[in-house]
Each structure stands twice: as C-alpha cells, then as structure tokens.
Amino acid sequence: MASSFTLTSLNPCLSFRSISNGEINSTKKIMIKMSMITPSSKDGTRSKAMKFKGTQMREKKLTEMIEQKVVEANQVCGEDETSDECKVAWDEVEEISQAKADLRLKLEKLQQDPLESFCQENPETDECRIYED
C-alpha cells in the first residue's frame, strides 16, 4: 500500500507558472495520484533510515512495552473496569503506542534516524554504533 506519484513535471514551481496565467486546462497534463499513506512494513524494524544501534534498541523496547502494557491493562481492568488504575493503564498503552508510531513516522516517512544529530556529536557512545541487519 505504498503511495505512488506520477509527476510529469518534477519541479512544482514550473507547473504553477502556467497556472498563474489562468490556464486550468494545462494542469490536466500533470497527473498526480495522492493516496492515503499507510505504513508499508508490517514489523517496522527494517528501514533504510535506521542507522544507529540506539534507535533499534528504542524501537525494540517500545514494541515490548506495548505488548507488556496491554497485558497489564487487561489484567488491571479485569478486576475493576471503572477504577483509576484501569484508566491509567490504558493511558500508558496509548502513550507508548503513540511514541512507537512517532518513531515509525520519522524512520519511514521522513527517512531520518532521530539519533542522527546526537550521534554526530557523540559518535563513540554505545547508542551510536552503526546498526547492522
């Protein structure tokens, strides 16, 4: 479910020169298919952008935490669905799920390893070892 674009003109500025002349018809020549983006990899661990060990560790940790916290939440809420503990447990699940999704977004869509700039300054740390598949 990857996105696909067909752009006859790679430079969007060029295409707009004709538009600014009021010629809507000429834009029909430029066809773009914009599709809703869904993550392309199911496990999310393999990505060209993942460069550093630290990022791989973070991703692994978040994945494990999601699993673990869902189990916890189900346990806690099994006892009392209306309790504060139940609310907090699911809130934690939400927080970690969002953190994982943010990391995935960075790696897949922005093609950036979040540790990039940190590792430029601190290349000798354990986190900044180059991640090998």
Binding site: F5, P12, C13, F16, I19, S20, I24, T27, K28, I30, M31, I32, K33, M34, S35, M36, I37, T38, K42, D43, G44, K61, L62, T63, I66, E67, Q68, K69, V70, V71, A73, N74, C77, S83, D84, E85, C86, K87, V88, W90, D91, E92, V93, E94, E95, S97, Q98, A99, K100, A101, D102, L105, K106, K109, P114, L115, S117, F118, Q120, E121
Partner: protein, 404 residues
Amino acid sequence: MAVSTVYTVQSLNSTCSISKPTKTHLGFNQKQLVFFKKTTTTTTRRPTTVITCSAGDTVVIGLAADSGCGKSTFMRRLTSVFGGAAEPPKGGNPDSNTLISDTTTVICLDDYHSLDRTGRKEKGVTALDPRANNFDLMYEQVKAIKSGVPVEKPIYNHVTGLIDPPELIKPPKIFVIEGLHPMYDARVRELLDFSIYLDISNEVKFAWKIQRDMAERGHSLESIKASIEARKPDFDAYIDPQKQYADAVIEVLPTQLIPDDNEGKVLRVRLIMKEGVKYFNPVYLFDEGSTISWIPCGRKLTCSYPGIKFSYGPETYFGHEVSVLEMDGQFDRLDELIYVESHLSNLSSKFYGEVTQQMLKHADFPGSNNGTGFFQTIVGLKIRDLFEQIVASKTGAPLEATKA
C-alpha cells in the same frame, strides 16, 4: 556607575519581564536595558535588576491535539508554510519533543508534566488530568518566551516516561505550544495570539488508531477500543471543553457521501472560524456571510467517486458567531485541488495556487487528499498572515526616548 539615557518602550508593560537572573545567559536578538542601581546605603546590596525586552515579536500559537506532539503533520505543514524544515534541536537530548525551524519553534506541552509515568501511576491520574501538569511553569515560560527571554524548559521523555534535564529554548518569531492543554489555563490562554483545536470524532479516532496500532504485536481491535474508552471520561472532562476557546476548530467527521462508511478513509472536515478575532479574517466561499452549498464536480471538473462537496455559512458555536467552511470527500487529482482553491476567498495566500503547492510539497503526509490537509494548510497561511499583521502593527509604534 549609571546609565545616562533611559529609553521607554511603549509596550513595556505587556511584553517585558523584569528578572534577577542568577545565570548570565541572556539570549541575543534582544534589546536589553540594564539598570545599575547606585546603592545609597552601603549596608544593603541590591542585586542588579535586568529588564529584558525584545521588540515583542514572538507570536504565540496554541494547538490542542491528542495525536502526539511536535511530530504531527499539522505542525510540519505549518512550519513548511513559513519556509524551512522543522527539526529537533541539534546535539541535544535525542528524545526531545521540540521542533525548530528558522522562524518557528514548536514545543510539546507534555514537557510540563509535573508527574512522570511512575508518579501518575501512583496518584492514579492520566496524562489528560490537569493534576499531572504544571500550569504555573507553563505560564511562566510561555510568558518569558513571548517577552523575548529564553527559558530552560524541562523535557518529558515519552520512551522512558521520565522527566529529563531541561533544554534551552530561545524566543523564535513564531512559538507554537502543542499538546493536550494549551487553552486549559486562563493565564496561558491570554498569552495566545491564535489558538486551534483539532476535534476528531470518535469514529474517526477509532479508525485512525486502528491504522496506527493494528500492525503492533500486542494490540488487537479490542485493546485499541478499550484504550479509547478508558481515556474518554478524562478527555471529555478536561480536553474537550477547550474547544470553546479556540479561534479555529478543525472538526473531523466520517463522510456523509458514502452511506454506512466506517473505514474513516473519506472524511468530512469542518473548519470552524471564530468571527471578530483580531488579525484573523475567515476564509469564505463566494459570498461572505451567506450560506452556500457547492459541488465543484460537473461539466468543468470531473471527479471520481465519491466526489467532493463543499458548504459554507454562518453558525453559532458555544455562543460565539462563527463561519464554517466544510469539505466532504477527497481530492483525486491536482486539478481538483487547484479548481477548489481558485473559488475560495480570503485564503491569505501570496500567489495563486499556493495552497495547492503546499499540499503537493507534502503529498505523502496523511490527509493530503482531503479536508484535513487542505484546512490545516489554509490555517497555516492564516497564521502567517496573522504574524505579518502583528509585526507590521508593532513596528509602527514609535520609541520615545527620555533622558534620565
């Protein structure tokens, strides 16, 4: 030692802060007045008082959203309108939530959590609960940034759930505070030059979270549903009421074009714009203040199923007069986008097709083919317009010099 000339800035009362800094780092790009008081008695030593005033350029925008922080597509679209890509601060904490571009700094309000994850668990409060947040610190620091004073802002680490050592935030031209509670505290609300609330309906939220989480081991349809349900009471009590204060609300609902659609792919998006907000002129369709219903697809424009439907009109929202621009459906082709853009007014675009161009720049972002991306982009242009108007009004104010 004495300073012989004293300059009074007209906006002294509102934008300057008087501080007795213990650290000597005071940001650059500011006009600083340093008063050295000659002590008349030798027994008491008065600390030097520093009045730091910027030209008061920093415009503060509040964005209420429940979709994580600082990495959201709305933020990226917004920073893109101002030019330049927003990136995390270089060389700092890699888990920082802050985004910085040439003109804009976006901070995540989770950084003002007073309780870390363990603390919240102990107290039995969710992150949505005001008791988990330090509004006093939020207010102080936003106020400082607005008046041109850099701050050391804490960092909430979403991976570890701990509060990390602070990072330095220097006052930018545009300061965006994004998170769950930008408009919760009345004092912070007063500091906002513009505020936006992203109101996602329950059905759409569910569909989006399924898309987000279904690939994760550990998650299932039930766990996603349970998570939303469990957070709902706190959300309704503390977050939702903020929308009455917002200058613009982007409401995302399921489409009305496809009966029984529950996939959340085709969306109906409403841009609710408050009337009478300084420097903000709502976007309109054809004739301001009237009620319009518009289907652009027809002879000049062919659209694929389910098409596009627009409406515009005045309404009341929580007792305020608002104008609502609504789009249902999705864009399939570039020429649909440009056609629609050419029929809207008060977009605050700088050239014909700017909205379309911005959408194209981020065609891979979610929402690029429907009202969410479209209206987010338009709001971005509106904020730019607001910023330019504010700056223009401030540079118009003359400085009065008086001799001490």
